[in-house]
């Protein structure tokens, strides 16, 4: 299984990097959030005084990076549907490769794709005046948290779209998942400002864990390492679900 997983993972990553369009789409969306949402909201945030020290961009960046891991899951699903439609799934399965291996390669492949956004977004944040004073360990922990989040969401998307061969499914699923999870999280605003029912969602939303985890490094507040633990549990659980779902329901064509 290691040989097949490595081969398919490399294929997944190489395909991304040889397709500048995919990279562009992956980068544009979070950048737009940072540039437009961040700029329009920054004075309001400063006036309210509920967003911690520093600019709103510093508050927003870990949140936007976290929500952008959602769209990464959608691209992983789309690449899987493409493989089904073009017969590649058959080609892979007429070798000693299991459906679970295909699932894992897709999940890790899209998570890797998600990481591409991090350096670009950091650079953009610097332009908007965010100061970074993180130790190498803190950088690593932050990236690891995002990687776990991306792995979890990629697995979730792949599990939901496993039985589908329709191009439109990932978009539909994304619409159902992205909006509620993005707003019912601490990615854009502190959840203490939410009504109780939204706080309840936000408190179990992995995006909240990831956003607050990254924010604690960036804003210099106390670090809650349990957030990383929750993210690890989320990633592990979603991987397990995706693994079993794809063995049973992954459609070939």
């Amino acid at each position: 299984m290691r040989s097949q997983l490595w081969g398919l993972y490399v294929r997944e990553v190489l395909r991304t990097f040889r397709n500048p369009f995919v990279i562009l789409i992956t980068l544009v969306q979070p950048f737009m959030w940072l540039a437009f949402f961040g700029s329009s909201f920054t004075n309001l945030a400063a006036a309210s005084g509920k967003f911690g020290a520093g600019t709103y961009f510093g508050y927003l960046l870990p949140g936007v990076l976290s929500t952008s891991m959602l769209s990464v899951g959608m691209f992983g699903s789309m690449s899987t549907i493409q493989d089904k439609r073009f017969g590649f799934m058959k080609r892979i399965l007429i070798t000693p490769t299991s459906k679970q291996t295909i699932f894992l390669s897709k999940a890790f492949g899209s998570a890797t794709r998600g990481l591409v956004q991090i350096p670009v977004m950091i650079a953009a944040a610097v332009v908007f005046g965010v100061n970074f004073s993180l130790s190498p360990l803190e950088w690593a922990a932050w990236v690891l948290g995002l990687l776990l989040l991306a792995t979890g969401f990629s697995s979730l998307f792949l599990a939901i779209t496993a039985p589908s061969t329709d191009w439109q499914t990932p978009g539909v699923v994304s619409n159902f998942i992205t909006m509620p999870l993005m707003f019912a999280s601490a990615s854009l605003f502190p959840s203490t400002l939410f009504p109780a029912w939204m706080q309840a969602i936000s408190n179990v939303n992995p995006i909240t864990f990831s956003a607050e985890f990254g924010r604690s490094f960036l804003l210099g507040t106390s670090v809650d390492w349990m957030n990383l633990g929750y993210l690890a549990v989320f990633a592990g659980l979603m991987l397990a679900i995706g693994y079993f779902v794809s063995a049973r329901w992954l459609k070939v064509e």
Binding site: Q4, W6, I94
Partner: protein
């Protein structure tokens, strides 16, 4: 069904049925039994929707089985699927390659999927054989259709499979690429000693390439044998002629070797043992000036198929008179 004393069969199918969906679904394969000897080029011939592709899906482990069993290279396709899949190669009707990757990268991925060590030598050998070695680092998107097909076959042969499945290998190809592919099929069979199972709905393709052929129609195998065996089932040439004046059918029926005479106005269909002997005798009975047009149809897989199924390959609409002619002939015989 196995040739006595020959090597064991590469593919054995026993009483296999495949129904899609629930119990009211389409019965794509209807109690199929087949034995494909090792080292042969075996053709599955039938019209679109006959069950050819379904049979390949079952044998390659892509599709499950409703009832019956099948084994490939000595392993059960259901219970030992991974072992089967390590021993087979598959080339789809359409080209399935990573276009953004070079030929070498496509081979690398295939080697990973087959978990091969030291595959580079074999890959170089295959690329050389197919004349692609100089282009091995070019992106596949810059390849011609013929080159892509060659690369696909190289991928399917990389792990030295026992059996290679070619699903409609020449569909949609131009004539010269098709000829090239025929040479390749014959070549790889000789060069690499691989058993080939190909599906086709081109009669001349099956005739040119295959040692043995099974004719499949509506999910059932309706005939199986060498091309010559199948052709000998139609032990007659068919002479079709259009006469200028009415002819007395009795005069034609009296000609030695004539098996059957049918007429529709001035159009005649005469079934004879051998047209070569019949024609000179015909001209002794009928003045050549009285014949406007004459044609001879020799036994071909087309006529075999027509006789067995009542319809021509790749033609869903019934043929006019000739179809009725054969249907009646079949009824008369049974």
């Amino acid at each position: 069904m196995m040739a006595p004393g020959g090597p064991p069969a590469a593919i054995i199918v026993r009483d296999l049925s495949k129904r899609y969906g629930n119990s009211h679904g389409v019965l794509a394969l209807d109690h199929v039994s087949l034995s494909i000897p090792t080292g042969t080029v075996f053709g599955l011939m039938g019209p679109n929707g006959a069950g050819k592709t379904t049979l390949i899906k079952v044998l390659t482990g892509i599709s499950d089985i409703t009832s019956g069993s099948a084994s490939v290279a000595g392993f059960d396709v259901q219970k030992q699927s991974l072992k089967v899949r390590a021993r087979i190669g598959w080339v789809a009707a359409e080209v399935i390659l990573d276009d953004d990757f070079s030929a070498w990268e496509n081979l690398w991925l295939q080697a990973r999927l087959q978990d091969l060590q030291g595959w580079e030598e074999r890959a170089t050998q295959l690329l050389t054989y197919f004349g692609l070695i100089d282009r091995k680092d070019d992106k596949v998107s810059h390849y011609s259709t013929g080159m892509r097909k060659k690369l696909e076959i190289a991928l399917a042969l990389l792990h030295q499979p026992v059996v290679i499945f070619l699903d409609e290998p020449t569909i949609g190809l131009d004539v010269s690429t098709r000829r090239m592919l025929w040479d390749i099929v014959t070549g790889i069979h000789k060069e690499f000693g691989v058993t080939v199972l190909l599906t086709t709905h081109y009669i001349e393709e099956a005739d040119a390439l295959c040692d043995r052929i099974a004719i499949i129609d509506q999910g059932r195998i309706i005939a199986e044998g060498t091309p010559n065996e199948l052709k000998s089932r139609v032990q007659a040439d068919v002479v079709q002629l259009e006469s200028a004046d009415p002819i007395d059918p009795k005069r034609l029926a009296q000609i030695p070797g004539v098996q059957e005479v049918r007429a529709q106005g001035n159009d005649w269909m005469i079934r004879v043992g051998a047209a070569d002997d019949f024609l000179p005798r015909l001209f002794a009975v009928v003045r050549p000036e009285a014949i406007r047009r004459i044609s001879v149809e020799k036994p071909s897989l087309e006529t075999v198929f027509l006789q067995l199924t009542g319809h021509r390959l790749g033609q869903e609409e019934p043929m006019h008179d000739i179809r009725k002619f054969y249907a009646q002939m079949r009824r008369a015989r049974s």
